[in-house]
């Protein structure tokens, strides 16, 4: 099955049907998506500002990264699940939307970066101050996550 037919199948599923016909079902899922977004945004920001050396300078970057990654991964799971439900409302249309494609590409990049380079930067920084390396990592991470949000907002506008 091609990727496009998966999108069509999602749109024709009972989930898609519920999202297309019930205004409040869609609204509820959208609210959960936004609530999780706030938690994800907060955890990304605090961790990256620590890497930049702006806040919590003396504290262990390893500890902050580990604790807030629970918050990040938890909210990311909620966002993906609710995101699939939101997608099912207009799956066939989203497949061709440049904003949606950008969002998915940036999301994949942000998640990949988070589990690799970003994790190493947190472990290396630990109690130390910011280095050129940790600063660059933080800026890339912030830009990628912000890009996911901006592209996501654009789906409804373009």
């Amino acid at each position: 099955m091609s990727l496009h037919s998966w999108f069509i199948a999602l749109g024709n599923s009972s989930l898609g049907h519920a999202m297309q016909t019930s205004k409040w079902d869609f609204a509820l899922v959208e609210m959960l998506h936004l609530l999780a977004l706030a938690l994800l945004g907060g955890s990304v920001l605090v961790v990256d500002l620590r890497l930049l050396g702006v806040i919590l300078k003396g504290e262990s970057a390893r500890l902050i990264g580990r604790d807030l990654s629970r918050m990040l991964i938890g909210s990311l799971i909620v966002m993906i699940v609710t995101g699939i439900a939101l997608l099912s409302e207009e799956a066939g249309k989203c497949y061709f939307s440049p904003a949606f494609r950008w969002k998915m590409a940036l999301l994949a990049a942000a998640v990949l970066f988070y589990f690799t380079v970003h994790r190493v930067a947190l472990l290396r920084s630990d109690n130390g101050g910011p280095t050129l390396w940790s600063r660059t990592t933080a800026l890339i991470s912030l830009s990628l996550w912000l890009g996911v949000g901006v592209a996501g907002r654009a789906i409804g506008l373009l």
Partner: protein, 163 residues
């Protein structure tokens, strides 16, 4: 027509309000900034609330986390307040009767009351408990109230468009 409704109508019909409402991009751009700023407010205050509940950053003192996040929370609040007022300006006649908008304002008033109570009571003796992994029950209650109210504000805010 009540005075407040009359004022909303004036604001709504003003040239600036009309400009935002009728522009192709202004409303959406302001709305995007508003959502981003709310993420900043709620996300950073949630980190402090979760610390007070003993769920994250336990080895770091509550006061230290508070000092780190407050500038972010307040900047986010200032941006969301200004952008929110511009959105209200453009749609003030509709907002006056919107039940969800009213709910959002009530929740905002309550969420302002929460730290007021918190700071004049248990936070006064914060130095006795700032390093405890799980904070006193009154601090935890304030944290749960804060998370609930901010969550309610996000939900009510999103629901405005559905009325």
């Amino acid at each position: 027509m009540p005075l407040l409704q009359h004022l909303c109508q004036l604001l709504n019909d003003s040239s600036f309000g009309t400009m935002i409402r009728e522009s192709d991009y202004a409303y959406s751009v302001i709305e995007s900034v508003h959502v981003l700023a709310i993420t900043l407010v709620v996300g950073t205050i949630a980190v402090l609330d979760l610390r007070m509940l003993g769920l994250v950053l336990r080895p770091i003192a509550v006061t230290r986390v508070a000092r780190a996040v407050f500038p972010l929370t307040w900047s986010g609040f200032a941006i969301s307040f200004i952008s929110g007022f511009l959105l209200f300006w453009a749609e003030s006649a509709k907002m006056y009767t919107n039940p969800s908008f009213r709910m959002k304002l009530i929740l905002l008033a309550l969420v302002g009351l929460n730290p007021l109570i918190f700071h004049t009571t248990i936070y006064r003796r914060v130095h006795e408990w700032e390093s405890q992994h799980v904070t006193p029950w009154r601090a935890r209650t304030a944290a749960i109230a804060s998370l609930t109210l901010w969550g309610g504000i996000v939900i009510a805010g999103r629901a405005i468009a559905y009325f």
